[in-house]
Subunit: 345 residues, 2 copies
């Protein structure tokens, strides 16, 4: 397939994908019969540029890295807003990577609906729309003969959704448990080495893992969003935020961590959900003291992991990065390659 | 797609797949638009049966479980040998699960070639043909517009090949390391609990993990075959048995295991290969003392695991079962579902 791509939003994730696409252009063409032209970019801060014949992305990245606006690009149509870029350009696939409120899902939700409504594919790393209405959006994509890809919303480029959908096809998945937040796992790893919670958090902030306000990570809210997504997309349920029991890691003391170590165990913040005999789902984010023979116990640093419970294979665990500029950008390529496979047949 | 399936060989793996297909018939049809009729079985011990309109598999399993020959089936054509069953029936997809010599690849290799030559798909759990000439067989399948699937040859139903091909698509994979043999991992797990090597081996034999002659497992030969397969299929190299350095676990003493435990480490038998700067590949099967922060260190009992080294995501590890009657039967369904996806488009 030859994609005509438009970026809605062009922050670090979009730039990360652009670098991958540029570096791997020939290899992707040869190995996957995957071809692309980037025809438009619309970013609320950086401005907007459209050329139906394609943009010179080296020039674009150069402008952006110098902190300049896209108006500085020598040719093309300037000033189209995001909705015009979605519906009035020749792009067939929209890369939705705007800065979006995770609770309301906006503005990503509006962009995704506009694109699907126009019969265009969308790939997006925004969690909000998936938490809010994954099932409706997937149905809307199918009804419009388009594709809505969102691999990156759970563990960035570690392909947990693709794994469930394709690689584990034929299994019935009854539940999962995972280390779904890298910041808290990093903090717990440092604490086991003797660092205090406060120092470990500070170190995580220095490394860019944790925000200045770390509440979303340490109180388990980030992991909770991922539990909701996995419950709805993989288990086929219909959870929302308030259906998930939650406790973060702020009450775990250095003493607790050392006591576990002496017992041959390890504290981890675990996000889990399990389908119950009555068909309901029990979901939570809670600190758990795991035995060192649990595959999740060996997952240290900012690395993430997810164990699926399947009927044919028992527990299947995947371990990989859960964040990062380039890794999250790469998750969009996973979605694009899925569209490409369907199109190439 | 509506498959017309023929079994060549009908031992525990073929029976395992049959049970899965029967139990999940309606679900597979609904969820994946996957339909099938089993039209023929040819087994060197159990005899052979063909009905172009399909066999009653409940009756077949009943005969087989009572130790009776397939001649006891009330209707259909009896006595066709494996090659006649492959080429002279209306089967479009051959399930090749004969008892095969892993060194020569026969008789599976002859069966696979005959099927591909007739433009029929083949799925097979036999390692020999893949070790010997995976690349040629995949090319032969492509040239005949057919599919050769062999997910089960590495870790049974844990889909390491499918993972590399689809779920990790877009990554360049430069190497791997894994726990590729369940028996040795089971023995090392028991030894860490204080059991002697001899007692742990005996226990593994009682549980059916190890053969009466355990050489293939404990000397690393089984893992070596999997290193060859992964090097050739995933890394695109052309290794054979003698290109892999090998050492088993027989020289690891209880004292070694306990010393590692005291250091916060664990012995594992690791199969690995890494592409070198000159393009060659360095492959080995060797006991390694892993830190407990290595994801492979947490993999205990008869469970297997594989870490791929990728350019975009760093290390990605998958953990799951590596053997078992039903798990290996299931690996054939993974291959069939891949054919089904391509066919349904």
């Amino acid at each position: 397939m030859h994609f005509k791509l438009a970026f809605i939003g062009f922050g670090v994730v979009g730039q990360g994908l652009t670098e991958i696409l540029m570096e791997k252009k020939d290899w992707l063409a040869k190995k996957y019969d995957f071809h692309y032209t980037i025809v438009a970019i619309s970013d609320i801060m950086k401005g907007s540029i459209y050329d139906k014949n394609g943009l010179d992305m080296a020039k674009i990245l150069d402008l952006v890295k110098k902190g300049k606006k896209l108006d500085g690009y020598p040719t093309g149509v300037k000033g189209m807003d995001s909705l015009a870029t979605i519906s009035k350009t020749n792009a067939d696939t929209i890369i939705e990577v705007t800065f979006t409120d995770v609770k309301t899902g906006e503005p990503a939700l509006t962009h995704i609906k506009a694109a699907l409504d126009a019969g265009k594919n969308v790939v997006s790393t925004n969690k909000g729309p998936v938490v809010k209405q994954a099932v409706e959006l997937v149905d809307m994509a199918a009804a419009n003969n388009a594709h809505y890809g969102f691999e990156g919303v759970v563990l960035a480029g570690t392909p947990v959704l693709n794994l469930a959908k394709y690689t584990l096809a034929g299994n019935k998945i009854s539940g999962f448990k995972g280390i779904l937040n890298g910041t808290t796992n990093y903090i717990l790893t440092r604490m086991e080495e003797g660092m205090s919670y406060d120092d470990a958090l500070k170190k995580a902030q220095e490394l860019g893992y944790a925000e200045a306000d770390p509440t979303g990570d340490v109180e388990g809210l980030d992991a909770l969003g991922k539990v909701v997504i996995l419950s709805n997309v993989v288990l086929g349920k219909n959870l929302s935020w308030e259906n998930v029991e939650r406790k973060g890691i702020t009450e775990i003391t250095g003493e607790d961590v050392m006591k576990a170590k002496a017992e041959g165990k390890r504290w981890k913040l675990i996000g889990s959900a399990e389908i119950q005999p009555d068909g309901s789902v029990k979901a939570k984010v809670w600190p758990e003291k795991l035995s060192l023979s649990d595959p999740l116990a060996g997952v240290c640093e900012a690395i993430n992991a997810l164990t699926y419970h399947t009927d044919e294979l028992g527990s299947i665990t995947i371990i990989g990065p859960g964040a990062g500029r380039r890794e999250t950008g790469f998750s969009l390529l996973i979605d694009l390659l899925e569209i490409n496979r369907k199109s190439n047949g």
